[in-house]
Structures are given as structure tokens and as C-alpha cells.
């Protein structure tokens, strides 16, 4: 039946494998951007002691985090569907990192849910530990996993990638919260946001410098190319510009520029990967991709649904747009 709908022996369009490389990176980007600010909320939560402020943070987090986290599953399964070898090698080669990451996500997700269930000091404190601990550890380990993907065994670049993801998550988290809360709290948050922006930008430059010097994962030459220079320059401009907007109290504009940072980071990842898709093994996009029929099928069935998903998100964020009160996680 499907045989007549999609070609069996050739890709729908010649560049379909590259389009899927882009689609997989797009899902990764959505995850890093959206769950990134969830992680940021979780980390900034540790700086609050006031119960009302904590409740405010949780009510910003509550309705959206679960849907945001599904982008991770979308990323993983799309990688599996289009490039099964990369999916299996990447996870098998980085066993403890990958398992540590998913366990950190368990704690991050459960913390707020549990906190709601019981009005008792000690209980809430443990739930908070789970939430904050998970929110720090998850982006660190996920960033390190991405670092291993890009740079192989080189320890320093791998750790720096993890730390960079933590920093950029703090930026987006602070901007997201600032755009949704009262001015007093927002001006405290922007301090953390600006600090994290500077740390992030310095981190990216140091990371790329280290990779050039050590040629980790053979990425040295790629970094000294025009596309990377453009992305880095844009990141610096967006980061500094965003910080100025934050200082002026234009939080919505700051949020827009803050979300551009992880987006640029994902583009950087794409540039560093292509044309290979697992640099340390030298595997090329074209070598790793599944057969034409399988890829055509997931394209025809999957891409329209992806558009629908983007509409769901527009709807979800529309329903929960605007300032949040302190009604708490349970709503």
C-alpha cells in the first residue's frame, strides 16, 4: 500500500539524508532551548528561600516541563529512526553518562510533583534537593554527552561543553522567569542571568580555543572556518545585547535574545558534526542513514505530525502566557 505512495529505491528528494540530519538537530535544539529554561528555573530555585517565590517558580515550570522534556524523546527516536548506528554507538559508548543523565531527569521531574503532595518541612526539603540536584546534573551530563559526541575522549572540552550547557540554561531560565514575574523579583534574577551569559560566552571561546590547540576529535580545522566565526560572533552579540536589554528592564526582548543562545549553540553543534555524524568514529551522514523506503516513510508520516506538534506548543504557551501568580505547582 505504502509502496505506491513513496519511492522504494530512491529518496523522495536527493538530499533527504541531509534534511534528516537537520531534522534531528532541530529536535535537539528544541530540547536544549525548551528544557534548558526548565533546568534554569530549577537552578535559580536554589537561590530563593521565600516560599511564595518558590511557588511562583514552580507555577511557571509546572504546565510546560513535561511537554518540553518530550523533545528529548523526539530527538532520541528520530536519531534512531534515521541513523540507528549513531544512536546505538553514542549511547553504548557513553554508558554511565547516559544512564546518569536519565536518572538525573527522574529526580528533576519527581521533585516538584512530590513537593506538592505533603505539607511538611522536611518532606519539602528533600523534594527540593531532588529538583535542584536534578536540574543541575541533567544539563551537565547531557552537555558532556554532547561533548563526547563531538570531541571523543578529550576530557577538558567534554567537561566544558557540560558546563556551557549549565550556564546557558541559567540564562534562559532567568530570562523566562523575569518575563513572567513582578519587577522586584525580575531585577534580582537578571543579575544571575547576566553573570551566566558572560560565563557562557567566555566558556565557549575557551572551549573552542582548547579544541583548536589540541585538535580534539579532529574538529580543529572546522572551528577556524567562516561559519563557526559567524555563529560565535552572533552569540557574543546576542549575549551582550540581551544583557543590555535585561538591564533596561525589557524582559520580553531579553527572553527572545536569551533563547537565541542555545539555538546558536545547536547550530554550532551541527557545523562541527557535518558531514560526519559521529566524528570520533568518522561515520558520515550518508553512511549512517537508513534505506530510502524507511526514510521516505518516516518523512511522509512524521513531518506533518511534527508541524502539528509545533502548533500544540503554540497553543500550550498561549494558554499559559502572561504573568504568573504564586498559585504553586498544583495550580
Amino acid at each position: 500500500m505504502t509502496d505506491q505512495l513513496v519511492p522504494v529505491d530512491s529518496y523522495l528528494v536527493e538530499s533527504l539524508p541531509e534534511i534528516w540530519f537537520g531534522a534531528v538537530l532541530f529536535a535537539l535544539g528544541m530540547y536544549v532551548v525548551l528544557d534548558g529554561f526548565d533546568f534554569g528555573i530549577g537552578m535559580l530555585y536554589a537561590t530563593r528561600t521565600d516560599e511564595h517565590e518558590r511557588e511562583t517558580f514552580l507555577s511557571a515550570f509546572g504546565p510546560v516541563w513535561d511537554a518540553n522534556e518530550v523533545w528529548l524523546v523526539a530527538f532520541g527516536t528520530m536519531l534512531l529512526a534515521a541513523f540507528p548506528r549513531v544512536y546505538s554507538r553514542l549511547l553504548a559508548d557513553n554508558y554511565l553518562l547516559a544512564i546518569g543523565f536519565v536518572l538525573a531527569l527522574v529526580f528533576r521531574g519527581l521533585g516538584p510533583e512530590l513537593r506538592e503532595q505533603r505539607d511538611e518541612q522536611r518532606w519539602k526539603r528533600y523534594a527540593d534537593y531532588a529538583f535542584v540536584g536534578g536540574s543541575v546534573t541533567a544539563p551537565l551530563l547531557f552537555g558532556m554527552l554532547a561533548g563526547r559526541w563531538l570531541f571523543g575522549d578529550a576530557t577538558l572540552p567534554v567537561v566544558l561543553t557540560g558546563v556551557g550547557l549549565v550556564a546557558v540554561s541559567v540564562v534562559t531560565g532567568a530570562a523566562f522567569l523575569a518575563a513572567k514575574t513582578e519587577p522586584g523579583l525580575a531585577s534580582e534574577l537578571r543579575g544571575y542571568g547576566i553573570g551566566a551569559t558572560l560565563a557562557y560566552l567566555v566558556g565557549v571561546v575557551v572551549l573552542l580555543g582548547t579544541v583548536v590547540v589540541t585538535d580534539a576529535g579532529g574538529a580543529g580545522d572546522t572551528i577556524l572556518s567562516l561559519p563557526v566565526a559567524v555563529v560565535v560572533t552572533l552569540s557574543v552579540a546576542v549575549g551582550l545585547g540581551g544583557s543590555m536589554l535585561a538591564r533596561r528592564g525589557q524582559y520580553r526582548a531579553w527572553l527572545a535574545s536569551a533563547l537565541a543562545l542555545p539555538t546558536l549553540l545547536t547550530i554550532l553543534v551541527a557545523i562541527l558534526l557535518y558531514p560526519t555524524i559521529y566524528p570520533s568514529t568518522g561515520l558520515l551522514v550518508r553512511e549512517a542513514v537508513v534505506s530510502p523506503l524507511a526514510l521516505n516513510l518516516v518523512t511522509v508520516l512524521g513531518f506533518p505530525v511534527l508541524l502539528l506538534v509545533l502548533w500544540y506548543f503554540k497553543f500550550l504557551y498561549g494558554v499559559f502566557s502572561g504573568p504568573i501568580g504564586g498559585e504553586g505547582y498544583g495550580g
Binding site: 500500500m1 505504502t2 509502496d3 509546572g62 504546565p63 513535561d66 511537554a67 522534556e69 518530550v70 528529548l72 524523546v73 523526539a74 532520541g76 527516536t77 528520530m78 534512531l80 529512526a81 534515521a82 540507528p84 548506528r85 544512536y87 546505538s88 554507538r89 553514542l90 549511547l91 553504548a92 554508558y95 554511565l96 547516559a98 544512564i99 536519565v102 536518572l103 531527569l105 527522574v106 521531574g109 519527581l110 510533583e113 503532595q117 505533603r118 561515520l283 553512511e287 549512517a288 537508513v290 534505506s291 523506503l293 524507511a294 516513510l297 518516516v298 508520516l301 512524521g302 505530525v305 511534527l306 506538534v309 500544540y312 506548543f313 497553543f315 500550550l316 494558554v319 499559559f320 495550580g331
Partner: protein, 466 residues
């Protein structure tokens, strides 16, 4: 230290056992949620608002647990069974990606609306959100079972060499997605989820009705759950019987393990089996079992009408699944299935006489039975998955060949211990959350807490009468 293979299998088995409880909670609770939400918006009656709010909270807690336990599942295909992911990638990757995009997103996004959006969206949007959450849960099961059914009865592919490895290439998508097993498995699993949740709802309702007999809301919930059971429990038995014949057709080795049938030849049907000795628990055979059997009926059923039909025995195979686990799991599941039919009929009889909430004995029985649906569901899956061994893809790839070659026993054992500790904590927490929700509900209904607390620990113990 365990071997990487043993530890990986235990880890996957353990994590999926916990995950499936929450996944089927979403599936089974979906019809209840839709019904209560619709009735609430439609009639504005307080009892439906109360039931909706209570069960949406349970659903939400279950969904969070389902998400956090489900993500490690999909990662383990890569971390622990990369050879399987690579060999089957073209066949399983698509359905898994559709599951995430079509089902998981739908459920997660509209659950956000259902939980937090009551005052932010219109009534109609609210009801539609509840329906979409339910559709998401049922679709999720659909795509996941396409993958699992393919592993049982793989179709629509050919083996080719890619990057120096033998992998399955998709050749006929329709055959690969709608394998012979798929419809059987989907109906059986969805219905099993409905039964498990109906028993859970009945148990919680029975507990509250026991404490507060005149609660209109919880009498409604109890009756609804019993009605659902009357339909679903007998259906499962009839369907399961036909399903068994299909398994004999398509996976004779698994069928033989379910019946501990060693010698090829005529098969008896063992209605009941009791171990004669302790040995029978680990190695069930005709010699060490006391069985109530219908001679040759096994052949009759398996062949669809021939008493002399030959049923292939386990002795014909080089390597067999752990027969004892499969044999006893199967009996445990079937036994529970009949118990549920009994409970459903008993409840139907009481409802007919208008005495459902008066019978303390029935209420107690339902409280005690509330976790048993899950016990049946889990043992049913043990039959399916352990019964397929030594294969991970039937007759194509062995489980031992699917395990990561770079994984060490130390790593695998370490993470296994981690998952056991975390997930035990998670299950206990889920039980406590349910307990606290019930307590809060009782408080809201004005039930005075007795000094002598009957519900200690995570599970309710039925001790004394009120």
C-alpha cells in the same frame, strides 16, 4: 558482578515492569477521566467535579512517573542493547518516533491544560483536552505494541549488510507495522489496562464508601468500575483463549513453555496445576505436577478442532526459555483473570439487588483486589517477553547477541543497583501519594480520623470492620 547480559536483561525487565504500571494507568484511567470531565462540565453536579479532580490528580502523578520511568526505557535500547537498536533500527525507529510525536506530545501538552487550565480555557476546550489526553495514551500503546509485536512475529524486512553488519532493511511497511501479533496484543493489553484500573478505582471507591457509605460521588465511581469490569473481565478470558491459539501458531516454542509441554505429540490442557514438590516450582514437568487436565484438549484448541494434532514439545529446541517462569506466570495470570470475572459477577449481582455499598464483605474483597489487576498484567508480560527467549527478535536475533560489547559487568551491575534503588523509592512514593490523596478526600468528606489508623505503610490492609 553480574555478566553484562544478565545485568542488562534484569535492568530492562525491572525498569519496564515499573514503567508499564504507570503507562497502563494512563491508558486505563483515560475513559474514567473523559467520562468524569464530560459529566462535570455537562451536569455541573458536584459529585463529578469531585471525581474528576481526584482522578486527574492520580492521572497527573502517574503520568509524571510514566514520563520519568519511560525515558530510561528508550535510552536502554542504545545503552544496553545497541546491537538490537542497530539491527532493528529501520523497523522500530519509525514507530518509536511516531509514538513520541503523535502520542507522547499530545498527552503531555493537553495534560498541562487539563491540570492547570480549568479557568484559562473554555468548557469545550477543556473537555476536548481530556479526550486528547486519552487518545494520546491509547495511541502511545498502539505504536509501542507495533514494535513489540514485530519482535514476536517479525515481517516486512530482509537482512542486508550495512557498515559491515547484518541489519534488517524495511521492505514492506504495511506488513512490518501490522504483523500477525499486533491486533491480538493491542486488544489484550488495552483491555488489561482497563481491567487493572477498574480494579484500582473499585478498590479506592470501596475503601471510601466503607468509611463514608452515603458518599454519592464514590458510590457512583464504584458502580461505574464494577460495570466496566463486568464487560472487560469476561471479554479478556474469551479473547485470551483465542490469543493462545494464535501464539501456538506463530510461536510454538513459547506456547510449549506456557504449558511445560516437553514431548512432541498430543497435548493435554492443564486447567489447574499444583506442584507436587518444591522442584516443580523451578522445573515444572508432568511428573511433578498434580494437574486437573482435559486429555488431548490442548491439541484440540491449538489446532482448532483436532484432538490428535501434534503439538511441538520443548525437547525439539536447542535452547529454551526459562520454562518455570513462563509456566507459572501464565497460570498466575489466568487464575487472576478468573478471580476478576468472579468479582465482577458478584458485583453485578449486588448492583442488581441494589446492595452494592451495603455488603462490607464485597467492599473488603475489592480493597484487597485493587493491586491484583497489575499483578496479572505484569505476569502476562513475563509470559510474552520471557517466553520469547532466547530470542529478542523471534528467530532472527538472540538476546545474547544484542547486548553491548563494550559494556562491562561492573558498569551494568552498578546501574542495575541504581535503578533498583531509585525505582523502589518511586513505587513506594506512588503508593504513598495515592494514600495521601485518599486521606485528603476522606477529610474533605468529613470522615473523622480514628485514633487507630487502619492504613499503615503504603498499602491498605483490611483488618477490622467499622
Amino acid at each position: 558482578m553480574l555478566s553484562p547480559e544478565t545485568a542488562s536483561r534484569m535492568q530492562f525487565g525491572w525498569t519496564i515492569s515499573v514503567h508499564i504500571i504507570f503507562a497502563s494507568l494512563s491508558i486505563g484511567l483515560a475513559p474514567f477521566i473523559i467520562y468524569f470531565t464530560w459529566k462535570d462540565v455537562r451536569t455541573n453536579e458536584q459529585r463529578y467535579a469531585r471525581l474528576r479532580s481526584f482522578w486527574v490528580k492520580v492521572f497527573a502523578a502517574g503520568f509524571v512517573m510514566g514520563t520519568v520511568t519511560g525515558i530510561p526505557m528508550s535510552f536502554q535500547f542504545g545503552t544496553n542493547f545497541p546491537q538490537f537498536a542497530e539491527v532493528a533500527g529501520e523497523l522500530i525507529g519509525g514507530p518509536l518516533a511516531f509514538e513520541a510525536k503523535m502520542a507522547f506530545f499530545l498527552e503531555a501538552v493537553f495534560l498541562g491544560v487539563l491540570l492547570y487550565g480549568r479557568d484559562r480555557v473554555k468548557d469545550r476546550t477543556y473537555v476536548i483536552s481530556s479526550v486528547l489526553v486519552g487518545v494520546g495514551a491509547w495511541l502511545s500503546g498502539f505504536w509501542i505494541l507495533i514494535v513489540n509485536a514485530w519482535m514476536q512475529t517479525p515481517r516486512g524486512y530482509e537482512m542486508v549488510t550495512r557498515n559491515g553488519m547484518e541489519v534488517a532493511k524495511l521492505t514492506e511497511p504495511f506488513a512490518a507495522f501490522f504483523t500477525p501479533r499486533m491486533p491480538w496484543m493491542y486488544v489484550h493489553m488495552m483491555n488489561a489496562s482497563v481491567i487493572s484500573v477498574a480494579l484500582l478505582v473499585a478498590g479506592v471507591s470501596a475503601y471510601i464508601v466503607w468509611k463514608k457509605p452515603d458518599s454519592e460521588a464514590w458510590n457512583t465511581a464504584l458502580k461505574l468500575a464494577v460495570v466496566l469490569l463486568i464487560v472487560s473481565a469476561p471479554f479478556q478470558a474469551v479473547h485470551g483463549d483465542a490469543y493462545g491459539r494464535h501464539v501456538e501458531d506463530t510461536q510454538p516454542q513459547k506456547f510449549a513453555a506456557m504449558e511445560a509441554h516437553y514431548e512432541t505429540g498430543q497435548a493435554d490442557l492443564h486447567l489447574l496445576a499444583f506442584p507436587k514438590s518444591l522442584e516443580a516450582l523451578t522445573d515444572p514437568r508432568a511428573e511433578n505436577l498434580v494437574t486437573v487436565s482435559l486429555p488431548a484438549v490442548g491439541s484440540f484448541l491449538a489446532s482448532g478442532g483436532d484432538f490428535d494434532a501434534e503439538v511441538i514439545g520443548l525437547n525439539e529446541y536447542e535452547e529454551n526459555p526459562p520454562v518455570a517462569l513462563v509456566f507459572w506466570s501464565f497460570r498466575f495470570m489466568v487464575g487472576l483473570g478468573f478471580l476478576f470475572i468472579g468479582l465482577a459477577l458478584w458485583g453485578g449481582h449486588l448492583t442488581y439487588r441494589g446492595r452494592l455499598s451495603d455488603s462490607t464483605r464485597y467492599l473488603k474483597a475489592m480493597i484487597a483486589a485493587s493491586p491484583l489487576g497489575y499483578a496479572a498484567l505484569l505476569t502476562g508480560w513475563y509470559v510474552t517477553e520471557i517466553g520469547r527467549q532466547p530470542w529478542v527478535i523471534q528467530d532472527e536475533l538472540r538476546t545474547s547477541e544484542a547486548v553491548s560489547s563494550t559494556l562491562t559487568g561492573t558498569e551494568a551491575t552498578l546501574t542495575l543497583v541504581g535503578f533498583v534503588v531509585v525505582y523502589v523509592g518511586l513505587v513506594l512514593t506512588a503508593l504513598y501519594v495515592l494514600k495521601w490523596l485518599v486521606r485528603e478526600e476522606l477529610r474533605a468528606l468529613g470522615v473523622r480520623e480514628s485514633n487507630e489508623d487502619r492504613w499503615r505503610g503504603p498499602i491498605p490492609w483490611v483488618s477490622k470492620d467499622d
